[in-house]
C-alpha cells in the first residue's frame, strides 16, 4: 500500500528525498501502515487507527510482525493515553507546557496517526484573523458574481470539518482574544455557520481540534473561560530525569542528522551528557549533587534547545573539525542558549563557570573553551 499522500499538500511523496522535513505521515508511513494492518481493535468513526494503536505509535515498541515503532514521545504513558482518549471523546485537546516540551511534535504525530494528515494547521500569531481560521473570500469572484460557494476560500478549520480530520492550532494564546473565541461555536456545536451564504458546515465525524499553548512568553492572551472549558488540558512536563532527557536528545539528534545529511559523528554521548547536565542544572538552579545553588538564567533551556546545540556542534565538528564532537564545538552553542539577556544572564553564566565547571573532573577542556569565548 502506498503511503497516504496528504491531499491538500502540493508536495506528494518525496522519492528523491529533497524535502527538508517531511510530514510525519510521510516520514513514518511504514509504521502507520504496519499498525493499521495489525490493528483489530475498534476504531472511532473517521479515525484511521484505533486509540490503542495511536498510543502505540506515539510511545514506540515492537509489533507482533517485527516492525519496530520508534518512540515519538519519551515520557509518561498516562499523558499520551489521556490525550488520545480526549480526542476519542470528541472533546478538544489543549497541550500546555513551557517551550521545548514537544507539544507541537506530539500534536503533529497525533494528527498524522488519527487522520493520516497533519497539514491542517493554523499558526497563531498576534496578527491572525478570523479568515485564517475559518474561510476567506476570492474577492475578484465575489465582486463579479456575488456571494457563492465558489467564491469562498476555505480555511483549515473549514476543510477539517468538511473532511472529518484533525485540525491543529499552534500557539492558541498568541492569537487575539476575539479570534480565539471564534473557536467557541465550532467546538461546542461542531458547526461553522456561513452567514453570508445563509448556510453552515456541519463537521463530519472524525473532526477534532488539537491546540498548543505555552504560558511563558510575553504578549500572551489568556483563554477566556468559555473557551478553556471546551478543552481538556494535558500539561507536558520537562523530562524528569537526566537519563530521559539524554535519551530524547540523542534520539532526535540522530534523526536530525540523517535528515540534514550530516556526516556520521561517532561517540557524541559524552558531549550530549554534558550539554544536558549544564541545561538541567541551570534550569533548576541547583547542581546535580544538590550542594550548590545557582542563579537561574532567564532563558528556558529546554530540551529542544539542547537538541539544536548538539546538532550545531555536530555540524561544526563534521565540516570544520576532525569529525569528532569536542567540547569546543558545543561551547559556543551552550553559551548562546544560556545568555539571552546580556545583563543578568552573563553574570549567572560566569558564576556557574567559576563555581561549578572549573572544579569538575574531566571538564577542564570545556572550561577552557568557554573561557576562550569570553575574551
Amino acid at each position: 500500500m502506498s503511503p497516504t499522500a496528504s491531499p491538500a499538500s502540493s508536495t506528494g511523496p518525496d522519492p528523491l528525498g529533497e524535502v527538508l522535513r517531511p510530514h510525519a505521515e510521510d516520514q513514518y508511513a511504514h509504521e502507520l501502515v504496519a499498525l493499521a494492518g495489525l490493528d483489530d481493535r475498534e476504531r472511532p468513526p473517521g479515525w484511521k487507527l484505533s486509540p490503542w494503536a495511536v498510543v502505540r505509535y506515539l510511545l514506540g515498541g515492537e509489533l507482533s510482525d517485527g516492525t519496530v515503532v520508534t518512540p515519538k514521545y519519551v515520557g509518561r504513558q498516562r499523558l499520551v493515553e489521556i490525550a488520545v482518549a480526549t480526542l476519542a471523546t470528541d472533546r478538544a485537546l489543549l497541550l500546555l507546557g513551557v517551550p521545548g516540551t514537544a507539544k507541537t511534535w506530539v500534536s503533529e504525530h497525533l494528527a498524522a496517526a488519527i487522520s493520516g494528515d497533519s497539514t491542517l494547521l493554523v499558526q497563531g500569531t498576534a496578527g491572525t484573523t478570523e479568515e485564517t481560521l475559518r474561510y476567506g473570500w476570492n474577492y475578484a469572484r465575489l465582486l463579479a458574481e456575488g456571494p457563492s460557494t465558489a467564491a469562498l476560500v476555505p480555511g483549515p478549520v473549514y476543510r477539517g470539518m468538511e473532511r472529518g480530520a484533525i485540525v491543529r492550532v499552534e500557539e492558541l494564546t498568541r492569537m487575539p482574544a476575539e479570534v480565539q473565541d471564534a473557536l467557541v461555536t465550532v467546538l461546542s456545536e461542531k458547526v461553522l455557520p456561513v452567514p453570508e451564504l445563509d448556510t453552515e458546515i456541519a463537521a463530519i465525524r472524525g473532526f477534532n481540534v488539537i491546540a498548543t499553548a505555552n504560558d511563558r512568553d510575553r504578549g500572551v492572551n489568556d483563554l477566556s473561560s468559555a473557551l478553556r472549558r471546551r478543552f481538556n488540558t494535558v500539561v507536558l512536563p520537562l523530562p524528569a530525569t537526566v537519563d530521559e532527557e539524554i535519551d530524547i536528545v540523542r534520539r532526535r539528534v540522530d534523526e536530525l542528522g540523517v535528515a540534514l545529511a550530516l556526516p556520521e559523528v561517532p561517540a557524541a554521548a559524552d558531549e550530549i551528557r554534558r550539554v544536558v547536565t549544564v541545561f538541567r542544572e541551570l534550569r533548576s538552579g541547583l547542581t546535580e549533587d544538590e550542594r550548590t545553588s545557582l542563579k537561574v538564567p532567564t532563558g528556558t533551556l529546554s530540551t529542544a534547545e539542547a537538541i539544536s546545540v548538539v546538532t550545531n556542534g555536530i555540524a561544526l565538528a563534521a565540516h570544520f573539525g576532525d569529525g569528532r564532537l569536542r567540547p569546543t564545538d558545543v561551547a559556543a552553542g551552550i553559551v548562546g542558549a544560556v545568555v539571552s539577556d546580556p545583563v543578568h544572564d552573563s553574570v549567572a553564566w560566569r558564576e556557574y563557570l567559576e563555581a561549578v565547571v572549573r572544579d569538575r573532573d574531566g571538564w577542564g577542556d570545556f572550561y577552557e573553551a568557554c573561557r576562550a569565548l569570553d575574551s
Binding site: 490503542w52 493515553e81 489521556i82 476519542a88 488540558t233
Partner: protein, 744 residues
C-alpha cells in the same frame, strides 16, 4: 451439611457485594467470620442504628489497657455486611479466628493490627503477573471488586488460591490460627447447622476446606487438637471504638489497609456505571463548596473521558486511576478531591450502650453534661468560671489537655478578660478518639487518668519550668491528687536546683498559679510555702547571678528582674517590703552591668522605696564623666525600660538626662547614639510628642514632680463619678480631701 468457603479481600466492596449475593442465594443458617473468637458477644451490635461505620473492634488486656489490638471495619467490609445480614435475619454468627486472649498474651508491644493480607509470598501478585497485569491491586479490582453485578467468583478464587498456595508452609502463628478456624467449622457442623457459610481472607480458603481429600487434604482433627493444646491466655475485654477512613489507608501503616477507602465506600454504595458519574458530581460539589468553579459540562466531559480511558487501558470499568486522570485533565488539579473523596472524612459512631473502653465512655458522658459542641469545625467557647456549668467545662477541657488530648486550645479572650473567664477554641479531630484509646491505660475515669498522667510527667521532669507547668495544669484541672505530689517534687527540685535564672523564669507562672488558687477556691497552701522558699532562694542568689554579665545576658536578667517584681506584686508578697528592695539597692550600688543597675533603679523608683532625690542622684552618678558613655547609655536603657512617661512627669530627671546628653563629646555621642535611639524608639508616639513639647519648653507651666494640693474644681466631677460608681451618697467637695499619692 454443606460448607461454603467465601474467600474475600478485607475491605473490598466487590467482595462485599459478592458475599451478599451468595448469602441471599444460599440462605445459610450459620455464618462464620474470620474475627477473633472472643469478640463474638459484641458482634450483635452490628446492624444497630447507633453503630455507624467506620468503627473498630478493640481488644485490650484488662490489667494493662495499653496492650491492645484492633480490627477496623468499614461499611464496605465483607465481614460487616455479612454479619449485618445475619443479625437482621437472626442467623447464628460465630467468630472463628484465634482468640485475643491468646494473641495478646503473646505480644508485649503497642497496639498491633490483627487482620493482615496474605503473608508472603504474595499470591495476588503472582496471579496478576500470570494474567499479564503488572499492578496486582488493579488486577484484583478489575476481576473481583469492580463487578457491579455481584456475580460471585468464589469458585475461581478458591481454585486460584489452592494453586498459589501449593507447597507453601505457613508460620507457627498462622498454623495455630488456621487450626482454630478448622476446629470451629467442624464444631459448627457437629452442632447440626445445615448450610454453613465461612467468610475469610482468600489466602486461607485452601486451608479451611475440611472436605478436601488427597493431595489437598488439610490436617486431621487430632493434629489440630495437638496444635491448639496448652496455649497461654490472658484476660481480655472487647470494646467498640469509632474509627476513621483516614486510619484505614495503607499509608498509615495498616497491613490490610486500602489506598482509597472513600472511593471504595463510593463504589460499594453506587456500583456500576453510575458510580463514575456520581463521583464526578460529588467532586464538583466539593470544589464548589471550597469556592472553585465546576460546571455540569465538565462533569459530562470528565465522565466520558474516564470511561474512554478505561476502554483504552483495557479495564472493564473506570477505576480510581482513570477517574483521577480525567478529573485532572478536565478541571486541572484536585488535591481537595483526593483528600476528601478518595480517602474520605468519615468518622464512625458508637452508641453508649455498646461496650466501650471505660475512659472513652467517661469522657463521652462528661462531654454531654458539659454541653460543648462536638464538631470538626473550630468553635469558640466562652467559659465563665463563676457558674457551675462553666467550671465543669473548664475542668473537662483542662483535664483533657493534662491527658495530652488537645480537643480545646485556650486562647486570649477578646473583650472582657479576667480571672474568672476563659476562652477556648474547640475542634474535634477523629484522631483524638484514637488517642483517647491509647491513653486508656492511665485510668478508667478522666479524673484518675489525668491525675496519673500528671504524676508521671512530674516524676519524669527535672526542670523547674516543666514542673511549674505540671503544677499549673493540676491546679487548673482541679486534680488535688496530682497537686500535692507535684508541689512536693517542685520543692525538692527547687532546693537542689542551683540556677537562679530558672527559678526566676518560673516565678511568673507560679504567681499566676497561686492566683488561680485564690480565685477558684482551691487550697494551695503548700504551693504558697514552696513559693516562699523559692523567693528566698532567688533573693539569696541574685547577687551572684548578676555578676559579670555580657550584654545579652544582662538584657535577659533585666527582664527577669521586672518579672520578679511583677510576680511579687501580684501576690503581695511580704518580701516586697524589705527583702527585695535591699537586694535591689545592692545591685545598684555594686559594680555590675549598666542595664541591670538601671532596671534595679527603676524598680526602686516605681515601688516607692527610693525617693525622687535618690533616683536623681543615682542617675547623675551613672551619667557623669567618670562612667564610660556606653555604660551610661545602658543604664538609661535599663532605667527607661520602654516607657518614657517618668521623664515627662519628672522634670529633674529629664534635666539630668538632658545635661548628660549635651555634655557628650562628638566621639562619645557617636558611641551612645545607637543605644539611646533603641531606647527612645521603643516609646509610644504620644510620649515622644510630650517629651518633645517639654524639652522645647512649650509645655504649660509645670510644677516639679507632683502637686501636693488638690485642685477642688477639677477633682469635684471626678470624685462625684467615683462616688456614684461605688454607690456612695454624693457629698459636697470637702477641703480636707486626701492628698493623692504619687501615681507609680
Amino acid at each position: 451439611m454443606t460448607v461454603h468457603l467465601l474467600g474475600i479481600r478485607h475491605h473490598g466492596p466487590g467482595s462485599a457485594r459478592s458475599v451478599l449475593a451468595m448469602l441471599d442465594s444460599v440462605q445459610p443458617d450459620a455464618v462464620l467470620v474470620e474475627l477473633p473468637a472472643d469478640v463474638e458477644p459484641v458482634l450483635r451490635w452490628i446492624g444497630d442504628t447507633g453503630l455507624v461505620p467506620p468503627v473498630a473492634l478493640l481488644g485490650y488486656v484488662v490489667a494493662e489497657p495499653a496492650r491492645a489490638a484492633f480490627a477496623p471495619l468499614a461499611s464496605f467490609s465483607p465481614e460487616w455486611q455479612a454479619i449485618a445480614w445475619a443479625n437482621a435475619r437472626d442467623v447464628t454468627v460465630h467468630a472463628i479466628d484465634l482468640p485475643l486472649a491468646v494473641t495478646l498474651a503473646r505480644s508485649r508491644e503497642a497496639p498491633e493490627e490483627l487482620v493482615s493480607e496474605p503473608a508472603p509470598p504474595d499470591p495476588i501478585r503472582d496471579l496478576a503477573a500470570a494474567a499479564g497485569d503488572p499492578d496486582p491491586e488493579r488486577w484484583w479490582e478489575d476481576v473481583i471488586e469492580h463487578r457491579g453485578d455481584g456475580a460471585p467468583a468464589f469458585e475461581a478464587v478458591a481454585e486460584a488460591m489452592t494453586t498459589a498456595r501449593h507447597g507453601f508452609v505457613p508460620a507457627a502463628a498462622e498454623v495455630q490460627r488456621e487450626a482454630h478456624m478448622r476446629r470451629a467449622i467442624r464444631a459448627a457442623r457437629r452442632a447440626g447447622h445445615e448450610r454453613i457459610v465461612v467468610i475469610c481472607g482468600a489466602w486461607h480458603v485452601p486451608a479451611l476446606d475440611i472436605d478436601a481429600s488427597g493431595a489437598l487434604a488439610v490436617p486431621a482433627i487430632s493434629v489440630d487438637a495437638a496444635t491448639l493444646r496448652a496455649m497461654p491466655k490472658t484476660k481480655v475485654a472487647v470494646a467498640w471504638v469509632p474509627w476513621t477512613h483516614e486510619r484505614l489507608t495503607a499509608r498509615s501503616g495498616y497491613g490490610a489497609g486500602v489506598d482509597s477507602p472513600g472511593w471504595y465506600h463510593h463504589v460499594f454504595d453506587h456500583p456500576g456505571e453510575e458510580g463514575v458519574v456520581r463521583f464526578f458530581v460529588d467532586a464538583a460539589r466539593l470544589v464548589r463548596s471550597r469556592g472553585g468553579a465546576a460546571s455540569p459540562d465538565e462533569l459530562i466531559a470528565g465522565t466520558r473521558l474516564a470511561t474512554t480511558l478505561a476502554a483504552l487501558r483495557g479495564r472493564p470499568r473506570a477505576g480510581l486511576a482513570e477517574v483521577l486522570d480525567a478529573a485532572g485533565a478536565v478541571t486541572g488539579g484536585l488535591d481537595v478531591v483526593r483528600r476528601d473523596l478518595v480517602i474520605g472524612q468519615a468518622i464512625g459512631e458508637v452508641p453508649d450502650a455498646a461496650p466501650q473502653v471505660p475512659l472513652a465512655r467517661d469522657v463521652a458522658k462528661l462531654q454531654r453534661s458539659a454541653r460543648i459542641p462536638m464538631s470538626d469545625q473550630v468553635r469558640t467557647v466562652e467559659v465563665d468560671l463563676r457558674t457551675p456549668i462553666g467550671r465543669r467545662k473548664s475542668h473537662l477541657l483542662h483535664r483533657l489537655v493534662a491527658l495530652g488530648i488537645g480537643w480545646g486550645v485556650e486562647v486570649e479572650g477578646r473583650g472582657s478578660s479576667g480571672t474568672f473567664r476563659e476562652t477556648w477554641e474547640v475542634c474535634w479531630d477523629p484522631d483524638l478518639s484514637v488517642r483517647l484509646i491509647e491513653r486508656a491505660g492511665y485510668g478508667t475515669t478522666l479524673e484518675s487518668a489525668a491525675t496519673a498522667r500528671l504524676l508521671e510527667r512530674a516524676g519524669a521532669s527535672t526542670g523547674i519550668a516543666e514542673l511549674v507547668g505540671v503544677v499549673e495544669q493540676a491546679l487548673l484541672s482541679e486534680l488535688p491528687g496530682a497537686v500535692e505530689p507535684s508541689i512536693d517534687r517542685l520543692a525538692r527540685v527547687a532546693a537542689t536546683d542551683p540556677d537562679v535564672g530558672q527559678l526566676l523564669d518560673a516565678m511568673p507562672a507560679l504567681a499566676a498559679a497561686l492566683r488561680y488558687g485564690d480565685v477558684r477556691g482551691t487550697d494551695a497552701e503548700s504551693l504558697r510555702r514552696v513559693v516562699d522558699g523559692i523567693v528566698v532562694r532567688i533573693l539569696a542568689g541574685l547577687r551572684a547571678a548578676t555578676r559579670s554579665l555580657d550584654d545579652d545576658a544582662a538584657g535577659v536578667m533585666a527582664e527577669r528582674l521586672s518579672a520578679l517584681h511583677g510576680a511579687l506584686a501580684v501576690l503581695d508578697h511580704p518580701a516586697r517590703r524589705s527583702a527585695l528592695p535591699s537586694v535591689l539597692v545592692e545591685l545598684v550600688t555594686r559594680a555590675g552591668h549598666g542595664l541591670v543597675q538601671g532596671r534595679a533603679t527603676r524598680l526602686l523608683h516605681d515601688s516607692g522605696n527610693w525617693s525622687v532625690d535618690s533616683v536623681q542622684r543615682r542617675l547623675s552618678q551613672a551619667l557623669s564623666g567618670g562612667t564610660p558613655p556606653a555604660r551610661g547609655a545602658a543604664f538609661v536603657e535599663g532605667f527607661l525600660a520602654g516607657s518614657g512617661s517618668v521623664l515627662v512627669h519628672d522634670a529633674e530627671l529629664l534635666a539630668v538626662l538632658d545635661g548628660w546628653v549635651s555634655s557628650l563629646t562628638g566621639d562619645a555621642f557617636d558611641a551612645v547614639i545607637v543605644l539611646l535611639r533603641r531606647t527612645f524608639g521603643a516609646f509610644e508616639a504620644a510620649e515622644r510628642r510630650q517629651l518633645m513639647a517639654v524639652l522645647m519648653g512649650l509645655g504649660v507651666e509645670r510644677t516639679i514632680g507632683f502637686g501636693v494640693d488638690v485642685d477642688p474644681t477639677r477633682s469635684a466631677s471626678a470624685l462625684a463619678t467615683v462616688r456614684h460608681m461605688l454607690g456612695l451618697p454624693a457629698v459636697a467637695v470637702a477641703a480636707s480631701a486626701v492628698v493623692p499619692e504619687p501615681v507609680s
